[in-house]
């Protein structure tokens, strides 16, 4: 019997990156396949292709042994393949039945057939173990249960393969437990699952088979339940590149440059955050999505107003109310979204680099083009930026080089504190190593660096000290000798979730 789904030598390029390079994958009926890999390994791209969201550049997909060409999500759905996004696609103003049948509501004489909707919705809900009245409004359910509703919705379209993208990323321990039971039950009923996760403990307790991606390629497979083991998975995910990302020696930290005392951010106004960063120190902030890390950085940078507390730079309280005030005090922020927030894509490399510092180099408000040119031509070699010239439009650069232009923009103002949000997201491994080297060099020159990252490898290799956030507060700090994935995950999950250390 042919496998339910077979993807054969799938490749996909995006401007500047090869997201997938000859990746193959098979899923049998009733199988739970875990797909793991670092951020940027190509997992998201692969699952989007499998679910018909994007077409591959090359390669074929077979369903039940027959060649399938998905022109859109509908095509994949009609073949029984459903994608369950990390962010739920539900309407919280409707009830459960309304959500399950959204877009394909049964009708009678042109009107909604509500009794039938409720009857059928109840059937699907029961199948995943949710004994709830289908007339319950969705908003009354917890996130975990809403996710189960999403699964019921997928099943009601007669899905035979569920692709679940980091399904537990915002679930509590108990909700995760329930989800595991549902997935195991579905698997026994012959439904296949592709489970994408960063949490290796989860993979170990759930998966029948593990497929590893690295840098857009197949990096290995663990074919049996018995073979699934932590060390082996980490080794396959990180692979040979572990040397290049190896730890640099840390610098002896100087005095406190950034002191944050009981700061309240708009995302979690009821909680306070306190932390210190010393000169020459690289401090990381880890945590799950939604833990309030980005909001902490934007509040420190004055983009979102602080609801209380103080921020001091070198002992002077400033608590910025706008980015101008933050910059004036010597704070720089390399934001998460390079294209939307970090850069002005339609401007040149040179104009982007001088955007912050240009005002200081001006005379009576006139731009000093000579100084601008000098700046760009000092920064390009110093950061080894690959660009045809400094008048090249920045949109034509690769992700790594664009990120270096953002860094150059901030280094030009000679900051005292450098904040970075996901500093290497979507950047290839070579440029990553260069950015890490650069950050270490800057720390050596006395800069205080605070970075947020969801990339475990980055957190472990870059941070001199790590703070882990959980639901708006700092759940704990880890020194260099305590930095292990297990410790980070335990704190990120709220410090009580023992499953993660399994």
């Amino acid at each position: 019997m042919p496998p339910l789904l077979e993807a054969h030598r799938i490749s996909k390029r995006f401007p500047g990156v090869r997201a997938l390079d000859d990746v193959s994958l098979t899923v049998a009926s009733g199988e739970v396949l875990a797909l793991i890999g670092e951020n940027g390994a190509g997992k998201s791209t692969l699952l989007k292709i499998l679910a018909g969201v994007q077409p591959p550049d090359s390669g074929e997909i077979f369903v039940d042994g027959k060649l399938a060409r998905f022109r859109g999500v509908e095509d994949a759905l009609s073949m029984g393949i459903a994608l369950i996004h990390q962010e739920l696609n539900l309407a919280d103003n409707l009830d459960l039945a309304g959500n399950i049948f959204l877009g394909r509501e049964p009708t009678r004489r042109g009107l909604l057939d509500i009794p039938r909707m409720h009857r059928e919705a109840a059937h699907w809900l029961t199948r995943i173990g949710l004994e709830i009245d289908p007339a319950t409004p969705l908003a009354a359910l917890s996130i975990g249960r809403q996710q189960l509703v999403e699964i019921a919705k997928a099943l009601s379209t007669s899905a035979r393969l569920l692709i679940m993208d980091e399904p537990t990323s915002s679930l509590s321990a108990r909700e995760t437990e329930t989800l595991f039971d549902v997935v195991k039950g579905l698997s026994r009923q012959g439904v296949s699952i592709i489970w994408i996760s960063h949490r290796l403990g989860e993979v170990k307790s759930l998966a029948d088979r593990v497929l590893v991606l690295r840098d857009g390629k197949n990096a290995g497979e663990i074919p049996t339940r018995e073979g699934i083991d932590h060390e082996r998975m980490i080794h396959m995910m990180v692979g040979r590149d572990i040397d290049r990302l190896a730890r640099r020696p840390s610098h002896p930290p100087g005095e406190v440059v950034l002191a944050v005392d009981e700061l309240r951010t708009p995302a979690h106004p009821e909680l306070t955050v306190s932390l210190d960063v010393r000169s020459g120190e690289i401090v990381g902030i880890a945590g799950l999505v939604g833990a309030g890390r980005t909001e902490l950085l934007t509040t420190l940078f004055g983009v979102t107003p602080a609801g209380g507390g103080t921020v001091a730079i070198a002992g002077r309280a400033i608590t910025p109310r706008s980015p101008q005030e933050a910059i004036h005090a010597g704070i720089a922020l390399v934001p998460e979204d390079r294209k939307e927030v970090g850069l002005i894509l339609d401007m040149t490399v040179r104009e982007n680099m001088s955007l912050v510092a240009v005002a200081n180099e001006s005379w009576l408000g006139f731009i000093d083009f000579q100084a601008e040119h000098t700046l760009a031509n000092a920064m390009i070699p110093a950061l080894s930026i690959k660009s045809a010239s400094d008048t090249q439009s920045v949109k034509f650069l690769s992700g790594g080089n664009q990120q270096k232009v953002v860094m150059a923009k901030w280094l030009a103002m000679k900051p005292r504190v450098l904040l970075l949000d996901e500093p290497t997201r979507g950047i290839d491994i070579g440029a990553k190593a260069e950015i890490y080297d650069l950050l270490h060099r800057l720390a050596g020159e006395g800069l205080a660096i605070l970075f947020v990252s969801s990339d475990m490898e980055e957190v472990l290799s870059l941070a001199d000290r790590l703070l882990v956030m959980h639901e708006g507060r700092i759940a704990g700090g880890l020194g260099r000798d305590e930095l292990t994935e297990e410790n980070v995950m335990r704190l990120a999950a709220g410090g009580t979730h023992t499953r993660m250390s399994a």
Partner: protein, 339 residues
């Protein structure tokens, strides 16, 4: 030295972008066609009228270009032209204000109107379209109310002040083409605007904000203040334009003076390469765009007078064709650059 060459190259490239070359080509074609089809086109008087009207509409267009570059829009220009156009003679003739006070007052009024628009947009977060649409209705209403709908003019007085708009400078001697004074005023404003946009920090910030407001804000640019500035410039230049129009025509009927001028100004800016998405615009392109609007209208008058009643349709069609051509070229370029 290298830097200077690079800078000069950059400036030249910016001045003579493909877009400007395209619109210059259209302008040349329309001029050529009109010159061949009508003997009157190349006569000194006609050419004077063309550069004169280009200057008057160009002043409005430069103003609105600043707003368009920030990604906003100013629909109130025609009504500001009207308000200033009736206020200036009304204050001078009916209320006996002195010339410097009246001129300072109407220009200051323009600045305050712009400030008000800018504050409503940046502080209250209202949409530029809505704010300036209300302005469009409000200022015309005020102009009509103040004057009881009576036409305002200077009669035979204030010749000195009026010469700002009516004087002709005999650059080739007394015969033939004489340069309208308005053209000089316009050129001074155009050069100032070009220097501001291309050579100053504020100009750079304005363009950055128009390209990507978020990124500009995260780079420490005071985006609110720059947006405010753009609206002040737009309304002040509208006031200056209104003053020049009334000095030139010597009669302002409150119910229709300046009607649709905001649309001429926006059309000229768009033809000249401003993108309504913001972040793009060149002063040279805008001058050519203004000239094209005026020459098109002149062509219809001279060559096809019986089509005068569909003048709007013809101008609208030409602008649409220009914008479509631009988009097609852009898509073609993007496809070639895509990896």
């Amino acid at each position: 030295m290298n830097a200077m060459i690079a800078t000069l190259g950059g400036t030249l490239r910016r001045l003579i972008s493909p877009k400007v070359i395209g619109i210059l080509g259209i302008l040349a074609a329309v001029c050529l066609y009109t010159a061949v089809a009508s003997d009157n086109f190349l006569q000194a008087g006609n050419l004077e009228r063309i550069v004169h009207r280009t200057a008057l509409f160009g002043v409005l267009s430069i103003g609105v270009a600043f707003v368009i570059i920030t990604g906003g829009i100013d629909l109130s220009i025609g009504s500001v032209v009207c308000l200033v156009g009736v206020l200036l003679p009304w204050l001078l003739v009916h209320h006996g204000w002195s010339v410097p006070v009246a001129v300072a007052f109407v220009l200051g009024l323009g600045a305050i109107i712009g400030l008000l628009h800018g504050l409503l947009i940046t502080r209250l977060g209202l949409q530029p379209f809505v704010v300036t649409l209300c302005g469009l209705l409000f200022y015309r209403g005020v102009a009509r109310g103040l004057t009881q709908d009576n036409s305002q003019g200077f009669g035979t007085a204030f010749k000195g002040l009026r010469s700002l708009a009516t004087a002709r400078i005999p650059i080739f001697g007394d015969a033939g083409f004489q340069l309208p004074a308005t053209t000089l005023i316009f050129l001074v404003i155009a050069v100032l605007a070009a220097v501001f946009l291309n050579r100053t920090v504020w100009g750079r910030h304005l363009v950055a904000l128009g390209c990507n407001e978020q990124a500009a804000r995260y780079s420490g640019i005071n985006t609110g203040r720059m947006t405010l500035l753009a609206y002040v410039i737009s309304s002040t230049l509208a006031a200056l334009g209104g003053m020049l129009f009334v000095l030139d025509i010597n009669a302002a009927q409150p119910s229709d003076f300046g009607n649709f001028y905001e649309l001429y100004a926006i059309a000229a800016a768009v033809l000249g390469g401003c993108s309504l998405r913001g972040g793009e615009g060149s002063i040279l392109g805008l001058i050519v765009g203004s000239a094209l609007m005026v020459v098109l209208s002149n062509m219809i008058n001279l060559v096809h007078p019986r089509y005068q009643n569909i003048e709007f349709a013809i101008i609208g069609g030409v602008i649409l064709a220009g914008v479509i051509a631009d988009e097609v070229v852009r898509r073609f370029a993007r496809r070639r650059l895509a990896p």
